[in-house]
Amino acid sequence: MLHYASQILPSLLSGAWMTIKIFFWTLIASIPLGVVVSLGLTSNIPPLRWILKFYVWLMRGTPLLLQLIFVFYGLPIIGIIFQRYDAAIFAFILNYTAYFAEIFRGGFQAIPRGQYESARVLRLTRGQTLRRIVIPQVVKIVVPSIGNEVINLIKDSSLVYVIGLGDLLRAGNVATARDVTLLPLVLVGIIYLLMTAVATFILRRVEQHYRAWR
C-alpha cells in the first residue's frame, strides 16, 4: 500500500501545486481589491456605490461554479477568451473580492468617526490616517472573518475541475477511477487537511500579533 501511495503521490502533489497557485494568486489580488471595493461601497458617490453593490450582490448571489463556467465557456461567445488557468484565477478573484469587500466594509464601519477627527486635528492626510490609524484597526477586526474565507478558498479551489484544470481533487479522482481504490481520495483528504492546518496556523499567528492592543 505504501508502494502504491508513493506511486500516485507525484500526480497528487502536482495537483496540489495547482490548488496552491490558485489559492495564492486569488488571495494576493482579492484582499487588496477587497479593501478598495469596500472603500467604494462606503463612498459618497452614489453611482459608484450602486455599481459596486450590484457587483457584490451578483458575486455572492450566484454559485462560484456558475461563475467559473461562465468565464471559461460563456465569455468566448462575446469574444473574450481566457486560457483555463487564467479563467480560473479571474473568476476566483472576482468572487473572493466581493466577499472580502463585504468583510472590510464591516471593519471600516466599526471605526468610530472620532478616530478620523482626531487624526484630522493632528493634520494627518487622508492617506496617512487610513494607513497608520484606520487600516491596522480594521485588519484586527476582520482577521477572523478573513480566516474563514481563506479556509473556504482552499476547498473552493477544487471547483476548477469543471473547466478541466488538473487540481488536487481531480488528480485523486483520476487515480481512484483508474485503480479502483479509495486510497487516493483518502490521501487527497489528508493533503487538504495539511493545507488548511498550515493556513490555520498562520492565521493564529496573525491574530496573536494583533492581540498586543485592544
Binding site: P112, E117, S118, R123, L124, I133, P136, Q137, A212
Partner: protein, 212 residues
C-alpha cells in the same frame, strides 16, 4: 489672539450659533459654559475646523484664518476630545510622535525627545511602551493632552475634560490646565461644570440655546 466675529452656524434650518463673538487673548483660559445642547461643542468643532461655519470671520493674530481649511503648521489648533480618541493600535510614545513625524517632518529622535519632555511634564513617565487600553482614565486624558501639545498648537481646546473622569480627578485636570497656562498656553475649555469653569477661567463665556 483668536477672534471670532459674527460666527453663524446652522445644521439644516436649526441655528446653533448666531452672530457669535469671542476674543481669546494669548495665554488666557476661556471657559465656555452653558446647558447641554446649547452649542458648546459645536463652537469648539468650528474653532478646531471639524465643522465649517456658515458666515462670520475668524482672526488669528489679526490675520484672517479659516480653521476648516487651515494647513499652516504654525497655526495648529489642538483638541482634547471628550472621549480622548487615542489611537488604540499605537503605543503611548507612538501616539505622541506620529503626527510630529508625519506632519511636522520631525526626525524620530527629535520627536521622541520632545515627547519625553511632555511625558515627564504630564506625569506619564514609564508608560511610553504601553497601549492606550492599559492606561487609566486620567492617564488617557493626559496622553491626549500630550499628543495635542506635541504639535505645538497655538491654542489647545478641551471638550468636557471632566466628564469622563472620576470626580476626584477634577482637581488634577485643573492643575494641568493651570500649569499649561504658566507656560503661556492659550486654552479654550468647554464644560458644563460651573465650579470647574470658575476655578480655571480668565474669561467665562455663556452659550445659550437659540429659540427658533
Amino acid at each position: 489672539m483668536l477672534e471670532l466675529k459674527n460666527i453663524k452656524k446652522q445644521f439644516g434650518n436649526r441655528t446653533i450659533l448666531n452672530n457669535f463673538n469671542l476674543q481669546v487673548p494669548d495665554g488666557q483660559i476661556v471657559a465656555v459654559v452653558g446647558p447641554s445642547g446649547a452649542g458648546k461643542t459645536t463652537l469648539l468643532r468650528c474653532i478646531s475646523g471639524l465643522e465649517s461655519v456658515d458666515s462670520g470671520q475668524f482672526l488669528l493674530d489679526d490675520k484672517p484664518f479659516d480653521p476648516a481649511n487651515n494647513r499652516d503648521n504654525d497655526n495648529v489648533i489642538g483638541v482634547v476630545f471628550q472621549d480622548f480618541q487615542l489611537f488604540p493600535n499605537l503605543t503611548v510614545l507612538a501616539n505622541i510622535t506620529l503626527a510630529p513625524q508625519l506632519v511636522l517632518k520631525q526626525s524620530k529622535a527629535d520627536s521622541e525627545k520632545r515627547a519625553q519632555e511632555l511625558i515627564d511634564q504630564l506625569n506619564l513617565t514609564g508608560k511610553e511602551s504601553l497601549y492606550p487600553y492599559q492606561l487609566s482614565g486620567g492617564q488617557k486624558q493626559r496622553l491626549a493632552i500630550v499628543r495635542a501639545l506635541a504639535m505645538n498648537p497655538k491654542i489647545l481646546c478641551y471638550d468636557e475634560p471632566t466628564s469622563a473622569l472620576d470626580p476626584d480627578l477634577r482637581q488634577t485636570v485643573e492643575q494641568i490646565i493651570l500649569g499649561l497656562k504658566r507656560d503661556q498656553m492659550t486654552q479654550i475649555v468647554v464644560t458644563h461644570d460651573m465650579q470647574f469653569a470658575k476655578n480655571i477661567a480668565d474669561q467665562l463665556v455663556r452659550v445659550e440655546p437659540i429659540k427658533a
